[in-house]
Subunit: 432 residues, 2 copies
């Protein structure tokens, strides 16, 4: 089948036969189909959609474009967690060691910051020496040895995803449920996961807009995952305000150690335990999500979660002993003060995420370097009282001009009101 | 404005500001926007459409991507004719010299065969020595000197169209009314035409499917043309059966000389006179289309039309004296006989066009060479009686294997019935 016939069929909203779609995607991955045909197909798929059967075919071709780890290699149930992206969302670095401490294998392929949201790989690299690039064999061997690894997608695994994602990124075709589904499921299957908890972020600070789309994405991933033996459970969780007390790479790693030491922000801690509980129940390592939560809590108390996070950094070349204890070292800081006394009613996660990127915690264009110390601290989270002139947020940066500009944007992100206020419920409905 | 923002806006069906669209198209033409972004835009434009204002902006940018001839340079009213493509449609080679003989300037940028339809440039090249590539200055000077020129698009004129068309051709985005409109209007304005008669082919042998789309294309070209001072009159004409008695490059040129000599197929002659009459009336060289028809008829009788066609070939390096009188010289021929006695009720123009391409009269892939002698002769047109075993068509080719395969397809193109039958009305409604 010719590339233009596949494009024309999708353009007209027709169902593409699984074999034809597979051949097309594999040819794109091998660069036999030129990029300009791939992007025409992506736009047609974005606007016309892909059926479940087409999404399964796309996902299968993406998996088979590279190496694939066999879940049986781990000899423990292999479970992963994936978040659709948020601001201050650092739960991966907490749940992976807790769940591994409870007996799971956690082969976690993670990503970099995207738009105004943070990325796990960028956070890992805040600890000096930490590597995030491994061959599939190295990655598998580390999970076998210590129970967990968090790494970037290897060029040997799901290379079609790398190719397609780079093209989607510059052609306004990222935000498509079937294309996102294929990208996520293919990576999870290739990394050797058998179980996946999907954290679907909903709210101002979520990449995916609206609860209906969040639900649709969850259902899509649940269904397509099942075609590849990946059992998926999705939770919709709140992402209106930043999660935890810090947005910024080094600060968020430190915050994870704080949680694993038994302290930290209560809401962040709760979400980590909920996710860990779901992972353990799904993997058959706990009789229920609640039992899983208690098991994870015990691994905070035992210190084994913290030890495993340290061990993971060390296994990946990092020097956590040099990094901890962390205190802000950015050359410049600016408090964002409350304009009036009252209760903090809202902190716009999206505005905070955008300000953090502007300060250097993320990338405005692909080649930008990350400043691990660039951060926003949430001193007074939603629901707390504040006096006039007291800082609600503090911004940290190396560049005073950027700090001044970001401070103005951050001031607009904070809303202080009269009455008592509580943040929205943290965990909403579960799907599958 | 960034390319991906233009793509995203069109993806979402939003109106793109004229300045942004213009900048995008000019950047595509300069190859500053990569092809993979251009094709994502083209697919979004195909599926979401372009408003009239956007189509005008696209057309303007395409014109300004290259050189443009000033209609005032011709010192006579400059009028062109464009056909949306058909089978056996050779009217350009008749109307251009007739209209030039009546006092118009005819700067005609024409194309090559496309799909199953023929192309004027391929026909011209059937006459030995004929050039179809000229610089804009050469083209203009020939029109000034002898009143007409028929040439291919120069790389200096409307280069954005060349770039976009090549990308549309391989990404299933050719058949879009706004994109076709911009391509046609930009070329006509750049070649210096002030008036355009558009022959919108309707029927089995038309590239554009369906009368509604034909009407919509006509209206689009009329409206967008007016934004650039190009006055357009469109006619819908029948293309169910092949036009005239031959499909094939050398044969069709010979058929045009036959019409200009006062003979030839009545239906072909009628369409040529109707189109010439419309062109002359539109250009103000006749008081009405009917008066224009009579003027064109007089230039057949006077022999000036024929002289001008010969003069044009000579001016373009051709040797018509070597070519004429033409008789078929293909090494092999195969009659397609009537299976029963009766009246020829239908000859499927599309099937004939596809068979002709297969015989060598057109290209199956871009690089194929044309065999000017490959042809299909219509011995018994629609409406004529035929006896069992009498030939309705004759196929001509140099390759006997291809001839045999094409004959089988041609047999299926002919339908012989009982009663009397007439071809559909030749000329339908006019638009603007």
């Amino acid at each position: 089948v010719r590339a233009q016939d596949v494009i024309a069929a999708k353009r007209d909203g027709m169902e593409i036969a699984a074999g034809d779609l597979r051949a097309f995607v594999l040819a794109v991955a091998r660069r036999e189909v030129p990029d300009y045909q791939a992007t025409a197909f992506l736009m047609a798929a974005y606007l016309r959609g892909l059926s479940r059967a087409e999404t399964v075919a796309l996902t299968g071709a993406m998996i088979d474009s590279g190496a694939r780890i066999d879940p049986a290699d781990f000899s423990r149930p292999a479970v992963d967690k994936h978040s659709t992206g948020g601001v201050g969302d650092k739960t991966s670095l907490v749940v992976a060691p807790l769940v591994a401490a409870c007996g799971a294998a956690v082969p976690m392929m993670a990503g970099r910051g995207l738009g105004f949201t943070g990325g796990t790989l960028d956070k890992l690299e805040a600890v000096p020496g930490t590597r995030v690039r491994f061959s599939p064999d190295e990655f598998r061997d580390q999970v076998r040895r210590i129970g967990l690894a968090i790494a970037g997608q290897s060029s040997e695994m799901v290379p079609a995803d790398g190719t397609l994602y780079a093209l989607r990124d510059v052609t306004a075709t990222v935000d498509s449920i079937p294309l996102i589904t294929a990208s996520i499921v293919a990576k999870k299957v290739a990394e050797g996961a058998r179980f996946l908890v999907l954290d679907v972020k909903i709210g101002r600070g979520a990449l995916m807009d609206g609860i209906d789309r969040g639900r649709a994405l969850a259902r899509s991933i649940v269904e397509v995952g099942s075609a590849f033996g990946l059992t998926v459970r999705a939770l919709l969780t709140d992402m209106d305000a930043p999660l935890g007390r810090w947005v910024g790479n080094a600060a968020e790693v430190a915050e994870c150690f704080e949680i694993l030491d038994g302290g930290g922000d209560a809401r962040l801690r709760e979400l980590c335990l909920v996710l860990a509980g779901e992972m353990l129940a799904l993997a058959g390592l706990a009789t229920s999500p609640e039992a899983g939560m208690r098991a994870a809590e015990r691994e905070i108390a035992s210190g084994r979660g913290r030890s495993l996070l340290e061990a993971m950094f060390v296994a990946q070349g990092g020097r956590p002993a040099e990094f901890l204890p962390w205190t802000p070292t950015a050359a410049h800081r600016a408090p964002i003060a409350a304009a009036a006394a009252g209760v903090v009613v809202a902190i716009d996660a999206r505005a905070v995420g955008e300000a953090a990127v502007f300060l250097g915690a993320g990338r405005e264009t692909a080649g930008d370097a990350i400043d691990p110390e660039a951060s926003v601290e949430i001193v007074r989270p939603v629901g707390t009282s504040v006096q006039t002139g007291e800082p609600v947020l503090v911004a940290y940066a190396s560049d005073p001009a950027r700090l001044a500009a970001a401070s103005a944007r951050l001031a607009g992100a904070v809303r202080v009101g009269d009455g008592p206020a509580a943040p929205p419920p943290l965990v909403g409905e579960g799907i599958a």
